[in-house]
Symmetry: D2
Subunit: 133 residues, 4 copies
Amino acid sequence: MSVTSQTLIRVRYAETDAMGIVHHAVYPVWMELGRSDLLRRLGDGYARWEAQGVMLSVAGISLTYRAPARYDELVTVTTRVREASRRKLVFAYEVTRDGVRLAEGETVHIVTGPDGRNRTLPDAMLALVASAL
Amino acid sequence: MSVTSQTLIRVRYAETDAMGIVHHAVYPVWMELGRSDLLRRLGDGYARWEAQGVMLSVAGISLTYRAPARYDELVTVTTRVREASRRKLVFAYEVTRDGVRLAEGETVHIVTGPDGRNRTLPDAMLALVASAL
Amino acid sequence: MSVTSQTLIRVRYAETDAMGIVHHAVYPVWMELGRSDLLRRLGDGYARWEAQGVMLSVAGISLTYRAPARYDELVTVTTRVREASRRKLVFAYEVTRDGVRLAEGETVHIVTGPDGRNRTLPDAMLALVASAL
Amino acid sequence: MSVTSQTLIRVRYAETDAMGIVHHAVYPVWMELGRSDLLRRLGDGYARWEAQGVMLSVAGISLTYRAPARYDELVTVTTRVREASRRKLVFAYEVTRDGVRLAEGETVHIVTGPDGRNRTLPDAMLALVASAL
């Protein structure tokens, strides 16, 4: 059964732009918060992964924007694992406000070491992430 | 014959993250700079479009990351128009450093008014953008 | 008796820089979150102020940094009103982590309308803010 | 004779906020660009300092905002060295647009190693910075 995390975010004034809405480059940052929360919920959290030399480098991102968010609104990022293998992870995200979908997206990650080189995900971490599928 | 613009960007320290490389959410901002430069090259620039009530709302974005950028490096964003119609524009981008491709991406835009509602692109603006195809 | 607000913030990966710590330009954003929370606690919140044509333009900021914050840490911004008059407000902030002070700062605000021109703070709003002194 | 650097910056859409102007937390980022340019002008640039284990940690910042900047405008950051010693450097900045002053500020830096501990500035670097006083 798929595990998801829900991250509640209060929109910051600094996140808005001259159109009066949240700038589109903010959503990848919110998605990263969601991913961070999902990993924390599944285990030690990504800070611990990094301390053990396991990085999730972002190899791709895609996003569809459906409705704008505005300053001071509360938005929710729902995050789930879409694919998990020893070399690649895919996460999926929905951003909603009061049940209305504002955006959805996906990030693709390659497992690397602190030197930026590809490596494989340790078995225990893979099992953790795969348990959320 | 396709028109492109080239935008030279010096990587800011604030754009790096704890991995020592440029954070992935910075690339949409660089692509926006590229789009801005391309529109300026084609005519009056996007600031003038906005002053006339024509907004290009971002409806979608996708990006593939191939190699990292670091503080103080000079990167180039090459921007081109991929599709142009009265309701929708698509731009394509390449980010390179010394000829090495770091990332490529695409943004999809819906034409809206200042109220966020869909509208159509005035003929003169469409002709301008279409001339770059 | 002075009213303060406490804002709990989880450090975002995007907020770190190549030194491995939170970039110094992030603190003004955190302070703005604190100010936003304090105004919400005192009444309707700043979004309502703006809707009524009352803006708090930032006229000055100062910050002293004492210790770094890192990804995934929980930091607290404690915000208070330092001065309140019809034309000018001053807020003071402390950023702490587990009781350790990371930074402290101050922002000075001039009351303006949506056109950017100076105006005076309506009595009800001034009373609200002054009640926190 | 005091050496200054001039950094020309095209305002990014992402740097604006819902007030239609550049968000105040962007100015520290612009000042950092100015500081980076001044050090490059004086010698090897800050990237080389870091490679040699010399960091300029930001210990304090202050800014006064006089007039707003808007999307697509060209602003100039003029940077100079105000104080230089083996443990502490102070830089001063002016942000202008067409000769009109938009903001001025100052940053205070403590010399540290990559571990965040205080260290002293190597003589050659101090001489370089002091030559700009």
